[in-house]
């Protein structure tokens, strides 16, 4: 591609941003492009390709900490730390299949910039909760750092939190430091068949508030459950719960879980391997993959209060023929709507506004993403604050300008 700057170290990233500042140019920040199709469709003068900043720079398993250059492939980090029985506990999802890009191509910088998480979000948090330190170049062309390499740190403002989920609109991260907690020794899934979303919501509420201490709770209505290979149960909806830990603990908590779930219907279980496959499918929203039967549909990602999940999902099903995946005990809704020029925005926004939370348009054609708000619009005072924060890092709008909102 033309107009691509591919720096190989942090100093060159600073030079690249300085180049853009000097020439009044805008830059599109890209790692390996796995999430490039998310966000407002905007135009940039040049691409800042950060994939050349690659490699783990520090890994100390006994300290539960890893530092890597921002363009390091997630897959490389996963493989490295798995060797020490550790993982990125926030379970970063892979957007590749959903967006029609290759699987497993994301970078650690991209995972942080998009504040990725997965089904374990309800127990272990998102990227923001594991992000300890950063080196970055602001849209002012200045190199700065924040945080450190220790878990407990309140020295100065926590700029890491701002960078996580900023989609490259504040700074180009060059190196990030994250926690690497131990991964569970084993896992098992217990599921209940054929619940409607309201009943499933009640069961999920009961389970996540119990001593079963599950690390994931999802409800997969019949049409989407049928597309997940790990589930061999015939036909209906599946409401699934994941138990992780040491074996004696799982045995005990499984009994707690089964006692609560038994009155709701027929129970089934998945052992370690199938359980992993199921939650990978939920994490990556596989039933809505671009290559699958829902591939033409518009995809919204909605975060709401878990207790309101079922009503949000049901409204979208009834009024827009949506297909729904409920994760986070009902707090995360993946909605696949029939393709439309307005992406069903009015309905999605009003439904989410009534329940509380936010919705992001994840998959839609470029023309649609250019015409409507992709990220949740903010009330005036908050939007003005957001804009001032943006300008505190990037007053000229150099980095990913307009990717989140017009002017941001």
């Amino acid at each position: 591609m033309n107009n691509t700057l591919k720096p190989h170290d942090a100093a060159e990233v600073e030079q690249a941003v300085q180049w853009a500042l000097a020439g009044g140019k805008t830059l599109e920040l890209v790692g390996r492009g796995s999430k490039r199709a998310i966000g407002r469709a905007a135009q940039w003068d040049a691409t800042l390709d950060l994939s050349g900043l690659s490699g783990v720079t520090l890994y100390e398993p006994a300290e539960l900490v890893l530092s890597a250059k921002a363009g390091t492939p997630l897959a490389e980090i996963d493989a490295l730390i798995a060797g020490s029985g550790q993982e990125l506990a926030f379970e970063p999802m892979d957007y590749g299949p959903l967006l029609g890009a290759a699987a497993a191509t994301g970078t650690i910088g991209g995972a942080v910039a998009a504040n990725l998480s997965g089904p374990r979000r309800i127990k272990a948090g998102a990227a923001r909760d594991h992000f300890l330190g950063v080196n970055a170049v602001s849209g002012r062309g200045e190199t700065f750092k924040s945080g450190g390499r220790v878990v407990k740190n309140v020295t100065g403002y926590d700029l890491c939190k701002l960078l996580a989920g900023s989609w490259g609109t504040l700074a180009a991260m060059t190196e990030v430091t994250l926690k690497t907690p131990p991964r569970a020794e084993t896992e098992e899934t217990v599921f209940v068949l054929n619940l409607d979303e309201v009943t499933a919501g009640k069961l999920m509420t009961a389970i996540v508030g119990s001593a079963a201490d599950v690390s994931a709770a999802a409800h997969l209505p019949a049409p989407v459950a049928a597309r997940i290979g790990a589930i061999t149960a015939p036909g209906g909806a599946v409401t699934a719960f994941r138990l992780e830990g040491v074996a004696p603990s799982i045995t005990h908590r499984k009994a707690v879980l089964e006692k609560l779930a038994a009155p709701f219907g027929t129970l089934g279980t998945l052992g370690d391997g199938p359980s992993r496959a199921l939650w990978r499918a939920v994490r990556d929203v596989e039933p809505f993959a671009a290559a699958g039967p829902a591939g033409e549909r518009t995809i919204w990602r909605i975060s709401t209060a878990p207790s309101r999940g079922a009503e949000v999902g049901r409204a979208l099903v009834e009024r827009a023929e949506a297909e729904i995946i409920y994760d986070w005990a009902g707090g995360l809704i993946w909605a696949a709507l029939p393709a439309a020029d307005d992406a069903g925005t009015a309905l999605v926004r009003s439904t989410v506004a009534a329940a509380g939370g936010h919705a992001t348009l994840i998959r839609a054609p470029v023309a649609v993403r250019a015409a409507i708000d992709v990220f949740e619009p903010e009330p005036a005072a908050l939007a003005a604050l957001t804009k001032r924060v943006r300008e505190s890092f990037d007053p000229r709008g150099v980095l990913n300008a307009g990717r989140m909102w017009a002017g941001v």
Partner: protein, 497 residues
């Protein structure tokens, strides 16, 4: 006072009577305190070496009053210092002579408990412990547990991003807060987050948490509540050397075990605590670990076996496991009383709060001993071993000339050492005024400037809690300038790396 605070604005002080009257108009009744003796309780926080009477104290009761006070002060150019319970150990709530002290104590109601969404919606003046107590009947609790939890408030916890002994497993405040209502210095009221997870835009809640009351005033907080673990047992493990103890901590964590709490004490702290509470601590060891596992009993027992085996490999010389809840609490009693226990053996003590990579502990303890000799002051150490947060207690006597100054220099040396070995200046107490001038040991000017620019985005006149965190105050306009080094640009035309 060794740390210089922003110069008093004489023009503001000259208008004091008018300002008091205006505040009384906003917060009628007994909400404004202007008499010197009545303001005296507000002159310092938990860092009592620093004292300053505010110009006036105001105690609002509603968000609208907070907004009206702030917009009035913004319009009139008056500084504001917010305060919760005043338990800060870094001077975060130290008043300014020309500033309004905004006390949030009257915001002390729990507004809603929502078990279905596992959240509690509370006002900022509610104490940390009161949140746990309000949900205890249903078997829930609020996880962050700073040792001041009986007194400190949730609003202060948000401002300081407070931790506690359980944060390796359950996170600190920022991991346990889902939303807040925030009043900006302009008086604008914004809502961040809610009962859902993550932000639809920038994570402003994340930057507000730990911003030491400098970005806005929190008037409502939504916190996550967790189901209480079914059981907890603690092991008390003694070591002949701190190296062995440090090795044991690393090996437990390296083996994939994340204890609910893991605390270490050194010999002086062990002796002081044992003499004070008779917890049954061994007195012939150099280091003592409390390792607490929590969860289902089957899990706790299973993991304790592994901890015991690990301790044996690390040459533990004593090992006891609690066999009852009373015994577990007794193990903790000594640790929890460590500060007052040290207070019994020394007229004064100065509590530090650096964090280090765990593996650096033996080195840091050795270097601290050298410093102890150099400054002629004793030091006792308690340590949140699981997360590397070190609390050296420097023993001194304020009545002896020069000892406070030596203690402060000793403390500064310890914190610089923490940074030198890859750690940070403060793990949970905050920068405040106490560590403000040490910030350049950890951050470059560019790092600090970027933090201050964020401050400018929230408070462009710099009126909210100025003089804290940043060693040098810059005007926002000055920070806003862009420096393009056009001459040095590597890609004058079309760049291809």
């Amino acid at each position: 006072m060794p740390v210089a605070m922003p110069q008093s604005d004489e023009a503001v002080l000259a208008r004091r009577a008018e300002i008091v009257a205006a505040l009384q108009h906003i917060v009628p009744g007994e909400g404004v305190i202007a008499l010197e003796h009545a303001m005296r309780p507000y002159e310092s926080d938990g860092l009592t070496a620093y004292r300053q009477l505010p110009m006036v104290v105001v105690l609002p009761e509603t968000t609208e009053q907070v907004a009206a006070v702030l917009s009035y002060c913004q319009r009139e150019g008056i500084k504001v210092v917010p305060r919760g319970a005043g338990t800060s150990l870094s001077g975060g709530a130290l008043p300014l002579s020309d500033g309004v002290l905004l006390g949030m104590a009257k915001f002390n109601h729990i507004r809603e408990i929502d078990f279905d969404n596992r959240v509690a919606v509370v006002e900022p003046g509610v104490t940390n412990l009161a949140v746990s107590q309000a949900v205890e009947h249903a078997g829930f609790y609020y996880a962050p547990d700073p040792s001041s939890q009986i007194a400190c408030t949730i609003g202060g916890n948000v401002a300081e991003n407070s931790g506690g002994v359980h944060c390796l497993k359950y996170g600190v405040t920022t991991n346990n807060v889902l939303g807040c209502e925030l009043v900006l210095m302009t008086g604008e009221i914004v809502r961040l987050g809610g009962r859902h997870l993550d932000s639809g835009g920038y994570d402003l809640l994340g930057i507000v948490t730990g911003s030491e009351g400098m970005l806005g005033v929190v008037t409502e907080v939504t916190v996550r509540i967790l189901k209480k673990p079914e059981s907890a047992r603690a092991a008390l493990v003694g070591f002949a050397t701190s190296e062995d103890a440090g090795d044991c901590v690393g090996r437990i964590i390296g083996a994939g075990i994340i204890p609910g709490g893991m605390e270490m004490m050194d010999r002086p702290a062990i002796h002081a605590a044992e003499e004070f509470v008779h917890a049954g601590y061994p007195l012939d060891v150099e280091a003592l670990l409390i390792v607490e596992l929590d969860g289902p009993r089957a899990e706790v027992d299973h993991l304790l076996e592994r901890v015991q085996e690990t301790a044996r490999q690390c040459r533990a010389v004593t090992y006891r496991v609690s066999n009852s809840e009373d015994e577990r609490l007794l193990f903790w009693a000594g640790r929890k009383a460590a500060f007052p226990a040290v207070g019994r053996i020394s007229p004064d003590y100065y509590c530090m709060d650096g964090t280090i990579p765990r593996g650096q502990l033996p080195l840091v303890l050795r270097r601290m001993q050298d410093m102890s000799v150099k400054y002629g002051l004793r030091v006792a150490n308690v340590f949140h071993a699981g997360d590397g947060n070190l609390h050296p207690l420097i023993l001194y006597d304020a009545n002896k000339p020069g000892e406070l100054e030596r203690a402060e220099q000793f403390g500064a040396d310890i914190l610089r050492l923490c940074v030198e070995v890859g750690g940070v200046l403060t793990g949970e107490h905050g920068v405040g005024v106490e560590k403000r001038d040490l910030m350049p040991a950890m951050f470059s000017e560019a790092d600090l400037n970027q933090q201050q620019r964020v401050k400018c985005a929230f408070d462009d006149k710099g009126l909210l809690n100025p003089g804290k965190v940043f060693p040098t105050l810059h005007r926002c306009a000055e920070l806003g300038r862009i420096h393009v080094h056009a001459g040095q640009v590597a890609f004058p035309d079309l760049p291809r790396f």
